[in-house]
Structures are given as C-alpha cells and as structure tokens.
C-alpha cells in the first residue's frame, strides 16, 4: 500500500508578462488555453485520487500567476483541490498572487475555493527596482492587494521580496523591508536575486547591461534581513523564510523535510512513493497528454535510501531547526552525525555547522555559504 500524500502542489503556468529574472515555467496568458488547462489539471488529480491515498493538509497553487485565471476557472480548480483535503486536520491552502492581478472578484473566488493563505509576489516597493525586475505592478498596488485579500477573508498573508537587485543599496533594501513590515504580513520570503541561465536578466548580466551587487553587500543585506525581521517578531525558520510564531508555511516545510507531495500541472515536480518526477514543461503538451490519457511525466527518479538520506541533509540543513537527529535516525537507521562524520567535522572546525543532542544545523556564518556546505553532503 502506498504512503499517504498530505501535500499537493498545482502549477498554473500563465502570467500577464514574463519577468526578466524568472525561470519558472510560465507563458503569457492565452484565454483559449485556460479551460483545457484546468480540465487537464483536474483530470491529473482525478487519476492520482484513484491510485494514491490523498489526505491533504497543505495545498499550494503556484505559477506562473494563478490569479490570472478567470474567477470561474480559478474557482473550479480550487474547489476540486479542496476536495482532496483531510477533513480531520486543519488545512493550509495557499495561492500565489501578483499585485495588480487580484481584483475583489478574484479574491472572493480564492476564498470561496477554500484558499486561506495568499503569497504575494511583491518583490520590491521601489519603482526603479521593479523596472529592473520587469515587474508590471506599481508599488502602491501591493498594499491594495493585501487589503483586497484581507477584506475577502484571507487568513494569512505572505510577501515575497528580492534583495540584491542591480543598483540596490543597503538603505534601499532596508526601506523595502520597512514597507513590507508596514503591511503587517504573517510571513515573509526574502530571496537574494539569482541569475538563472536562460533568463533575460542572465543575458543582461553577461553582456554588462546590469551589474551584480557585490557579494559583500549581498551578504550584509542578508544578515540585516535576519536581524531586522527578528526585531519585528519574525523567526527565520528557513534560510529565506521568516514567519510570525505559528505562521510558518507548512507546505514548504514538507519540501524541506523531504516528505512526499503530489505535483500537478505543466513543469510541476512531485515526490510520491519514493519517486521524484517532473511533468512536461509545456502547456500544450501537457493538455494533449491529458486528452490522450497519457502520463504528463517527463522524468522520474527513484532514489535509494542512501540518496534519500543525502537529499534529506541537503534540504533539512536549510531549516533553522536543522536536521533532527532522532527523526533522521528513524528514517535511515543511522545518526547523521555518524553517517557524515568527516563532512560535519570539517564544517564544525570552520564554524559553519553546529551539532547538539537534537540536531545538526548551520550557524549564521554557515547559512551565508549554505550551498558550499551542503555540497559536501551530496
């Protein structure tokens, strides 16, 4: 019997425009493609519901921009997703949203569909920074969106912010943080800008159109973020994620704790029954496969226990709580401190890791170079 899936991710690939830094699979909204896509998403979910035990306590609709869907279609999708919820547990049901896409009608559709948490892609409150990022919204629209969601009855609000935008100073970043805090969000995700190969921004960097923020400054911004948010009652529970107590994103915690989740939609990744899979990153191909009753998966990977244990290190080290030694031992039959003794000792001596009776975790210095540390556990 397969394990019970407690989390679902659904990918809505449409956006009004494609931002220059973004490398998630997305395409410009085509109204005619909406209904076939929602049909296909529901069909994929239906198929899983037959073969898999689903009792979701977290659902996450991401993209793309889910809120570009017309209210009727959005609600149709959300309603079907909500049917997968475990009626005996409290449900965290998140939708991503972009400012300038959330009308009161859309907000109502979200809430009516069961959504109780909205993650808003604010990214910046500075006009020129938004231009560099090729975001279409204006700074005041973030506050409007927050207000619209609250008015519709959304329980939790999260804001995404990006630091290290080309041209950004420390003061400019701190102003962004203050502007975000003024909206009293429950949760903040603060990402250092990543230049992803294949994005326009990457090319602009390569050709010198934009200049990367000095890594020293970026490091200082990161540290200032942790301190500023701590002073406002936000816990850094993951490298890039901050929450008021009890407001952590339970869905993302599933990823970090290397637990199973279902992924549906074009380009969505999932992890079910020990198999990591990825769907085809093309809406037309995804819809076509659905219509023909074919699998949407483009790749699958079954991990053995050793690989799973390494991945667990990779993921859980990003959490402030670290790798819980007891839980790890229960899953893999060995204490991580013993299994990875050499790598742990090396980073202990460099002051990048700390180990206590309960967990192995990154120090503050270790967080700054997390990728270098984690690479030694892979």
């Amino acid at each position: 019997m397969s394990e019970i899936v407690r989390s679902i991710y659904a990918h809505v690939p449409f956006c009004h425009t494609i931002c220059g830094y973004c490398d998630f699979y997305s395409e410009v909204l085509d109204r005619n493609a909406v209904t076939p896509l929602v049909d296909a998403l529901i069909a994929e979910l239906d198929a899983y519901a037959v073969a898999t035990s689903i009792a979701a306590d977290t659902i996450f609709v991401g993209g793309g921009t889910p809120t570009t869907l017309p209210a009727v279609e959005l609600r149709r999708l959300l309603t079907r997703l909500a049917q997968c919820a475990n009626s005996e547990a409290s449900l965290e049901f998140t939708s991503e949203a972009n400012p300038a896409t959330v009308t009161p009608e859309i907000a109502d559709a979200l809430v009516a569909g069961g959504v109780n948490r909205v993650s808003i892609g604010a990214q910046s409150f500075d006009k020129s920074e938004l231009r560099v990022l090729e975001r279409i919204h204006h700074p005041p629209q973030v506050a409007q969106t927050v207000a619209t969601c609250r008015a519709a009855g959304v329980d939790a609000i999260s804001l995404d912010l990006i630091f290290g935008v080309p041209g950004q100073s420390m003061n400019a970043w701190l102003s962004n943080l203050q502007a975000a805090l003024a909206l009293e969000p429950d949760h903040l995700s603060c990402y250092g800008l990543t230049y992803e190969r294949g994005t326009p921004l990457f090319d602009q960097l390569a050709t010198g159109v934009v200049t990367r923020v000095e890594s020293e400054l970026e490091a200082e911004m990161f540290e200032a973020t942790i301190d500023t948010l701590a002073a406002h009652g936000f816990d850094q529970y993951e490298i890039s994620n901050f929450a008021k107590p009890g407001r952590e994103c339970r869905h993302n915690l599933r990823y970090w704790r290397n637990e199973p989740y279902l992924g549906i939609g074009p380009s969505a990744a999932g992890f079910v029954d020990g198999v990591r899979y990825k769907n085809v990153p093309d809406t037309a191909a995804y819809v076509r496969a659905s219509r023909l009753g074919q699998s949407a998966r483009i790749s699958e990977e079954r991990l053995d226990a050793a690989a799973r244990s390494r991945e667990t290190m990779m993921l859980e080290l990003r959490l402030r709580e670290g790798v819980a030694r007891g839980r790890f031992a229960d899953r893999f039959g060995a204490d991580p401190a013993a299994l990875f003794r050499d790598a742990i000792n090396r980073h202990l001596s460099l002051g990048l890791l700390e180990v206590d009776a309960g967990a192995v975790r990154l120090t503050r210095a270790g967080q700054l170079v997390a990728d270098s540390v984690i690479a030694d556990f892979i």
Partner: protein
C-alpha cells in the same frame, strides 16, 4: 640522367616570403602538374602546416625542366621554414648543391632570411638570391637587393627578380639555376653512399626515407646498411616524387629520391645517417650525423586523469612521424600521472600539443615550458636538469648553468630603443648593431634561453608594431645565479608550480604568479595564503579571502532534483580540479607561471 643535367637545390626563405608559391610555380612550369591540378602550396601536405603556413616535414620533388631547349632534372629539396627545425634544415641543405634564397620585396631581409642564408653558407651552397612579389604595390625590389648585398655580401647583380604568383622572371631564374648551381659530382661506379635527409612514416609501407645519392647507385632488392645505426635492411621500393610517387629501379649518384625498406618506426632511422651497401660498404659515413637536441621541455597530463592510456598511445602515434620529440613518464603530486616531453623549440611544442588535440582527440593539461639546465655537482659530475623538481639538493651543487641563445633581431630603426629596453629586462647582452638600410637595423643579442621562452616574441612584435622579426639558436651554457622558487598554497608546496629562475627576477615573477593564482583559484570556505619561497625564505605572499556568500535563495517550487543536480554539478566541477592542502586548484592555475611579465 647524366649528372651534368641535374641540379639539386633548396628554396629557403623567411616565413610567408613565398617559398611554397615559387616551388609550385616551378612544378607547373615543368609540366609536372597542370594549372587545374595545382592546388596552392602542393608541397605542404598536412592540414596543420597549411593552416599555419609552416612546412614541418621536408620532402623532395624531381621534375624535368626544359631550359633553353635542353631538358634538365631539378630536384627541389624542401626545408622546414622555422628555426626550431634548424637541424632538419641543415640536413636538407646538406643534400643540395645550391639554394634559392627567397626574399619578399615588400618586407626585405628578415631574421630567418639571415639564419637560412647562414645555414646555406655553412653547407658550402651556392646561393641565388630571389626577390619575390615584385608585382605587389609596396614592392621595393632594388632596396631589397641592396639589403641582401649589405647583410649577406651577395652582389646585387646576382639577384633574380620574380613574381612567383604571376610567373614573371621565372624563366630567367631557371637559367641562372642551370648556370650558377653546380651539377652534382660523385662516382657512379663507387661504393654506395647516400645521405638520408628526411624520413616520413607511411601507414602502409612503414618508414619512407628520402635520400640524396652522392656516390654509387642504390637498387631495388639491394641489402643496405644504415651506417650510424648499424642496421641492415633490404630495399623493397625506390622512387621519386614528381610530385606523385613514381617507382624506379635505381637511383644513381647525383639523384634524389626515396627508398622503402621495411623499416618499422621512425625511431629506427636518424635523419643525417648514411645509407650504403651492406656487402660493400663505403669507407666512412658522410659527415653530419647528429641526433636532434630537445631544448624545451614541458609536461603533458591528461585533462581527465583516466585518459592516461589514451595520451600515451597518442604520443606514441605522433612520434611515429615526428622522431624529434621525446616523452617519458612523469608524475606530479598536483597533476597525477603524465609525460615529460622534449621539443626542438617552442613552435615545435605548440605543434605537438595541437596535433595531440586535433589528430588524436586528447585534451591535455600542459605545464609551463622550461629549458634544460646543467648542474655541476660537488662530485664533479654534470647532470641535466629538465624540471625544477629534478634539481639535486642545493648542498650537492657546485654550480648551475643555463642555456644561452644568440639571436638576430631585424627591426625598423625607430624601434631600436624599445628593443634595447626589452632586452635589458630580459638579461640580454648586446653584441652587434648593423644597418641593413637607413631604416632597418639588425641587432645581435645573447639571452638566457628561459628569458625568451614565454612571451618575448610577442613583446618584440608589440614594440616594433609587428615589423620586428627574430631568429635564435642555442650557443651553449653559462654559469648563472639560478634559484628554485617554490609556490605554496595553503602552506603546501605545489610541485608543478616550482620554477628555476635567475635570482634577480624571482621577486617580480613570484609576485606575478601569486597574483595570477589568486585570480584562478576560487574563494573557499576558509582563507588561503599563497606564498612564493626560495628555500625557506618567503619572497612574496597573497591571500585569497574566504567565500562570503554562496546560497541559493529558493528551492525551485519543490523541484528537489533540480536543486540537487545544481549542487552535484558544482561538485563535479570541483572533482576536475586538483586538491592540494585542502585547496581545489583549477587546471588553468598551473599555467600561472606562464603569465607574461610587463
């Protein structure tokens, strides 16, 4: 053919002065190849040669040439154009009775013109100066002829003016070849004596030896002896290149051609050896037997450590048709297992490296080239030192000597000051300054060879705005204040980065190498000290600061596989590096010692 109708000669020239075009023109005039068949530069057959405009392998072509109604046989003995192949040039010239010295009328006399002319004089050849490219707009034929007279002492009246491209002057040039180059002498009834002036490897026939017969006659089926090697073979094929292969029954004194005799590898033949009859050998070999001397050394390591076998096979294959480079197993803490290779010069090294990658598909990591030093030990013994790592311990060394070259530099007069400054920086010793014309000067200098190894030629080109040319040859060894400089990364000496250099240049070079290393080695999680040291004395230091930030912000919407693959890729990149003292050193960093000085 009667000896009086034979002319054996070479065409010698500075690079790009039109040697190959002139050869092709002669072939065409003889009717050996038609206009249609004539590809440019017929005599250069390797792809690489064609691309670089360099003739690596000498060959000989025999053509019937009508001159004033009489048919002659011209044997064109081709020579490599570059100084690295000086030995092969001198062997090819030894097979000739005369030489056409081609000089570009737009460029005038250049460094290799002089070097080639000297080589011809050494071989007692009659030189016919040929001023080429007279049809070009910038041509200065008279000035060029005056330069030839001035530098080489050949009267202006002897100069032939031609355009190899259009054919102008070729008729007259052929007349003077017949008139001025002496026909071969040599007793055709005597004991066989022939000079092997070149050898190439043929996949189907084994080694093909090019020879000029000086006495007697060589026949198919004859049992022959290679006198220098004392090895006997039976001739299975004789022929001439016209320019296609034409088989003959015999070659008589005065003639040039090739023989095949079931010789398996080029290593079995020494260019410069004498072929004679095994049963009735000549009394003594012809002069000039001298194995090629490797003067530049570097290590080749397989870029992927596992490709050691492939690299060894590729080197063996290359040595089949280039007997003048050597290789032997080498190992390094830093780079693992590889080969120490010896070359005739820097160009030769570049050619071998390129052929390895192009023809054999093997990627190599090449260490910085170095020259051979001599160490006189306190025991009296003299040892050759080909790499810093081979240097005996300092208390055993009585004296260290470095190779010295003499160089001729030809330059526009206004660049003389800059060249003298450059020469000063490179420990050059000024010998002579001669004016070829009011605008052009020939400077003669002596340099320690290692001072011109890296970038001297590039620097020369730069200070003379492209007009300077140079040629050099090794003249011997000289006592010098040499030291071994070690490079320490995170406190550990990296053997592949150690260099032998003059004490006076150690500080500057040490700082340069460290600066370059700092750029090549990525930041680590800890601080990395870099030091240059002579013995235990640190003469330069640098620090690579620890990595400040390396963290991916997001988790790609649950796409864990992608995240893991990114990290795996980062890790794989690290694997290709060499880890020394906990520091991952990229292969490029090992070229740091090559960093040009300025």
């Amino acid at each position: 053919m009667d000896q009086s109708r034979i002319r054996n000669f070479s065409i010698i020239a500075h690079i790009d002065h039109g040697k190959s075009t002139l050869a092709d023109r002669l072939l065409q005039r003889s009717g050996a190849i038609s206009e249609r068949q004539m590809r440019e530069q017929t005599l250069d057959d390797m792809e690489l040669e064609r691309e670089r405009g360099i003739t690596i392998k000498a060959s000989a072509v025999s053509v019937d040439m009508p001159v004033d109604g009489v048919s002659y046989m011209f044997n064109l003995i081709d020579t490599p154009g570059h100084v690295d192949f000086h030995y092969e040039v001198s062997r090819a010239l030894a097979a000739c009775d005369g030489a056409l010295l081609v000089v570009d009328a737009t460029q005038g006399v250049q460094a290799q013109t002089v070097a080639n002319a000297y080589a011809a004089v050494e071989n007692d050849l009659h030189i016919i100066p040929v001023v080429n490219k007279i049809d070009l707009p910038g041509a200065r034929p008279e000035d060029t002829a005056l330069e030839i007279e001035h530098v080489l002492g050949i009267p202006v009246d002897d100069v032939q003016f031609v355009s190899a491209k259009s054919g102008d002057g070729i008729e007259e040039m052929c007349r003077s070849i017949v008139k001025l180059i002496p026909p071969p002498s040599g007793d055709r009834a005597g004991h066989l004596q022939g000079l092997v002036f070149d050898a190439v490897y043929d996949e189907y026939r084994g080694v093909v030896c090019f020879t000029r017969i000086s006495q007697g006659r060589i026949r198919k089926g004859q049992k022959i002896l290679l006198m220098g090697r004392e090895r006997q073979y039976v001739v299975t094929e004789l022929g001439k290149m016209r320019p296609g292969r034409v088989v003959v029954d015999s070659l008589a004194a005065g003639e040039a051609g090739y023989f095949v005799a079931s010789i398996k590898t080029l290593a079995d033949v020494t260019v410069g050896d004498t072929v004679t009859d095994a049963l009735n050998p000549a009394a003594e070999p012809m002069p000039g037997y001298d194995p090629p001397k490797q003067v530049v050394f570097c290590d080749f390591y397989p870029a992927g450590g596992e490709e050691y076998d492939e690299l060894r096979d590729a080197l063996s294959r290359l040595s089949l048709n280039d007997a003048s480079f050597t290789f032997q197993p080498q190992s390094s803490d830093a780079l693992g297992f590889g080969f120490r290779c010896g070359f005739l010069g820097l160009l030769h090294m570049d050619i071998v490296q390129e052929r390895l990658e192009r023809e054999c598909g093997v990627d190599v990591v090449q260490t910085a080239p170095s020259v051979t030093y001599e160490a006189q030990l306190t025991s009296g013994e003299v040892v050759r030192v080909e790499a810093a790592g081979d240097l005996p311990s300092i208390d055993k060394i009585a004296e260290l000597r470095e190779p010295i070259i003499e160089t001729q530099i030809i330059t526009p007069a206004e660049s003389v000051g800059s060249i003298m400054k450059l020469a000063d920086q490179r420990r050059g010793i000024f010998k002579k300054q001669e004016y070829l014309s009011p605008q052009r000067v020939m400077l003669t200098y002596e340099f320690p060879f290692n001072e011109i190894l890296y970038d001297f030629y590039d620097r020369l080109k730069s200070v003379t705005r492209g007009y300077g040319t140079m040629d050099y040859h090794v003249i011997g060894f000289r006592t010098s204040d040499l030291v071994k400089m070690d490079i320490l990364v995170n406190g550990k000496a990296v053997d592949a980065l150690s260099v032998i250099l003059h004490r006076s240049t150690a500080d500057r070079r040490g700082r340069k190498i460290l600066t370059r290393l700092r750029q090549e080695i990525a930041r680590h999680l800890f601080e990395i000290p870099l030091q240059a040291a002579i013995g235990s004395r640190v003469i330069a230091r640098e620090t690579i600061k620890p990595l400040r930030k390396n963290v991916t912000a997001k988790c790609y919407g649950g796409d864990v596989t992608r995240k893991r693959k990114l990290l795996e890729k980062q890790k794989a990149g690290k694997k290709r590096m060499k880890t020394i003292g906990n520091v991952d050193i990229p292969q490029k960093a090992f070229m740091a010692v090559l960093e040009p000085e300025d």
